[in-house]
Symmetry: C2
Subunit: 531 residues, 2 copies
């Protein structure tokens, strides 16, 4: 049939082109680790990205090559993103918090040609250097003695046209830090990144407009700062970066830059809450705070909501670019009581258009959306992984469903609620016990500092819960007291068969409980109830 | 390179699938021509669309066939959209306000197989029928004596899977009503429609969220109701349709259904403004009114803004799906005075991500964005036309720029301002005189009911303006009085060389001045200044 609409590949560089043309003078602010502030704008980032693209070509980087960064959030880091992608490279953000052996594996697996890094990472880079087989150029973003990054691009003209190509070409590589095996790389494509960014600006996701002032506290090495550096140019909002996110700096930046929208993991907000309480400060013009990475505690949600700041509780994964669900308001929001609102926000939210989501049993039966039937959470969509980098087999089933490894329920209104990680769930007599809910309930008991629940072998029930507890300093809380407390919060058959006190619990590099180590340690533990 | 993200074609049916799954019970309300109201929801529309898809297959409609509608806005019309597109057909909305000979041309050119129509259109359909060569089935949406549409789908099971295919396949056909030549068809594709819909929900375009209640007054036969029936399912907002948009009904519906967002041409709002003034009514919960189709008068913008309702002034074309620019707020909005806000809204707004826009001279030189340099407005992007239906040549130049036929300037902040239609501009001594500005200025003169400016031959200046004026009933305004008035509003060299009084001016079927007829009538007119 003759006739139709235009070819216009969904290429990432169109995002910054749009921002340069339509929002060229909108500010991009960087608060550096030394406390200084620099300011550029979308036109400046686009100009410097063209210069960097020229410099990378001069260094011998070619289309499809990987270029790595080890850096916090700032405008030069943003330039390295668009400059690398603009010359056809694949931008690879590396998480400096991983263990050295994981980092070495990742660099060599990605075959990075160039590494851009913050001066503060110099000791780490020096330690890694002897082991990195493919990195040919090391460029410091902010050397105190000179201007390594700035001098790299200083001599370039900026007269450059972005490398063009198919929208399915890769643009970015992010590794996941699993608790088992080697890290795996997720290869974002131009198309997936642009569609994801378009979805993010809508009111029920990040609500980004020209008037917004966005502070992505979530690091750029953490699933592309949840996509904000790609979504912000669509809206033309002001971006505020801070390399330092101690509570005082965050609070200062909120006020000084008029931040309206921000996003970070719960740990950051815990610090800010204490700081605000201690100093009597307020939250400035903050309007929407997106919390993700791990579950937001109820007290945190109440803290913001009671101060007139909306909380958007989000869930996602590196494998999802990373947005899976977000916490936009339901249509009957104004009819809900404060408590009902907190109840709703405490769940993980709903999918935007582009994410398909379902719950299945281990046997593959699709569960109803009744808020009760839990199972494995599966997703698919245009910004969901098909296959890990250099892996030979797809990461999805024949119908493209990706198993997230989370256990969840979906409520009738479409709200999803995570109940556990699939590998941590305790399977007792064919029923599932959520280790997370058990731990959270135990941590509500006075005297308990931290708790971990693991399933151990039981001849009758297959698995039963063993609860490991770290007491608070000076506490002498007893197993019976903990059991009494739990009785009020979980079903009776969820109560742990035994409670053991330990001095500490193992954690991953990103602060999550290392359940694999605990399962290994207690795999031969014999419960007294199993006798 | 191994690895990457999923294939997930941007197909229109994913929009209604999403809404059915995630917002299934969100209401879709129809106010019918007889004053009755019916209610369904996204799940109901999806279910009926599956039934209609089955029925269309039963009628012999095949993939790629065109299915036409002659109808106002209501939920059955919406079902005909998704049902047709869902079975692989191409939905063709026909504008009943066109002249019969244009309608006959359009139906035969489109080769429609089926025609769905409103009972109120029966006389028109009866008159057209003998001339329609390809229509095999006529189905009335709302026959008073029975249920033609309802009975068509009543026997179907609804057990149906949408026809799949490439995202570049066509889904919809809309003809433009030009003032010269035959109407031309714009063939929307699945991909262009989905990307356009995703762009529309963002805060600076239509600002659609779950909490919105959207009333698209703009007819569904008018550039797909500006895309709202595709964007609303993304947001999951409530939709309110009304087949009757007389002022009282619009005002009643605003209040009864809690409408927050609405969109229509200026004529509708003129009627509503008078009604509200006369009855002392208010605008209920209205938050954002989008005005497009032709320029919104300043008084209209003031009317809404002074009542706390934001006006989004939009510009677009059928060839652009149709969104070109919209009136989101600039970042310094709160710093503007009321007058400055009205000044800004009175212009045509800014492009969303996805529209590239430029101004060029007749010689093809790109004009600066200085708010002064006018020229032909050109656009390109993923939802802009490449080629008209069945035309052999592209509608764009070698770089995909589509010439809109409008003359405009772009201000430094990216705000676009239409100054004229290219073919109506008066070229005097190599400079351009805006016929629209001249007419608007003349219509501000007491005693002037309507005015039209056309360029007529002048030996020295090539063209000079001739102003045709219809006096208000009882007025005896003179040419000198009009010239005096104009002197205060336009440059001196823009003043018309002559002013002629006429009894009436010719209009197109959609109410626009028919300049072609005027130019034809006055093409041999000899100005006294040309002697």
């Amino acid at each position: 049939m003759l006739g139709g609409m235009q070819d216009w590949p969904l290429r990432v560089m169109r995002l910054i082109d749009h921002a340069e043309r339509e929002h060229g003078h909108r500010e991009i602010v960087s608060r550096w680790a030394d406390g200084s502030t620099t300011r550029t704008d979308y036109a400046g980032v686009a100009r410097d990205s063209r210069k960097l693209a020229q410099a990378l070509e001069r260094l011998g980087v070619r289309k499809g090559d990987r270029v790595a960064t080890l850096a916090m959030n700032h405008s030069r880091h943003l330039v390295s993103w668009y400059g690398t992608i603009g010359m056809g490279g694949v931008l690879h953000t590396v998480n400096p918090r991983l263990f050295p052996e994981q980092l070495i594996y990742i660099f060599n697996h990605a075959e990075d040609k160039v590494l851009f890094y913050d001066h503060a990472m110099t000791p780490l880079v020096d330690a890694l250097k002897p082991h990195l087989k493919t990195v040919e150029h090391y460029v410091c973003f902010d050397p105190p003695e000179g201007d390594s990054f700035e001098s790299l691009i200083a001599g370039e003209s900026g007269d450059y046209r972005w490398v063009e190509g198919d929208e399915r070409e890769p643009c970015m590589l992010c590794y996941t830090s699993g608790t088992t095996g080697n890290p795996k790389g997720v290869l974002y494509e131009h198309r997936s990144t642009v569609i994801h960014a378009m979805a993010e600006v809508q009111p029920d996701v990040f609500d980004l407009s020209r008037r917004a002032v966005a502070l992505p506290i979530v690091p750029m090495f953490h699933a592309a700062a949840w996509g904000l550096p790609f979504a912000a140019p669509i809206a033309g909002c002001k971006i505020v970066f801070t390399a330092d996110y101690t509570p005082k700096t965050v609070c200062d930046v909120l006020h000084e830059e008029g931040v309206t929208h921000t996003a970070a993991v719960p740990t950051v907000w815990l610090g800010l809450m204490q700081y605000v309480d201690q100093t009597g400060s307020d939250l400035g013009q903050l309007k929407l705070v997106t919390i993700g990475g791990s579950a937001a505690p109820r007290a945190m949600i109440e803290f913001f909501q009671s101060r007139g700041v909306e909380v958007g509780h989000a869930w996602g994964m590196t494998e999802m670019s990373p947005i899976g669900t977000t916490g936009g308001r339901p249509h009957d929001w104004d009819d809900l009581s404060f408590e009902e609102k907190i109840d709703l926000i405490a769940k993980q939210g709903r999918v935007p258009f582009g994410v398909e989501m379902r719950i299945v049993t281990d046997e593959g039966a699709i569960q109803p959306r009744d808020g009760q039937s839990s199972g494995r959470l599966q997703v698919r969509g245009p910004w969901v992984i098909q296959q890990y980098f250099k892996e030979e087999r797809p990461a999805v089933d024949a119908e493209n469903w990706f198993d997230t490894g989370d256990v969840a329920v979906i409520h009738p209104d479409g709200t999803m609620q995570i109940t556990d990680r699939a590998k941590d769930v305790i399977k007792s007599g064919g029923e599932w016990i959520s280790s997370i809910e058990l731990e959270n309930a135990a941590m509500g008991c006075p005297g308990v500092a931290e708790a971990a629940a693991v399933g151990v072998y039981h001849p009758k029930w297959d698995e039963r819960p063993l609860l490991l507890v770290v007491r608070k300093e000076g506490s002498d809380v007893t197993p019976d007291q903990i059991l009494d407390h739990l009785t009020n919060h979980v079903a009776k058959w969820w109560l742990p068969d035994e409670i053991l006190f330990v001095d500490s619990l193992p954690h991953t590099a990103t602060g999550k409980l290392l359940k694999t180590a605990l399962r290994e340690e207690y795999k031969d533990y014999r419960l007294k109830t199993a006798a």
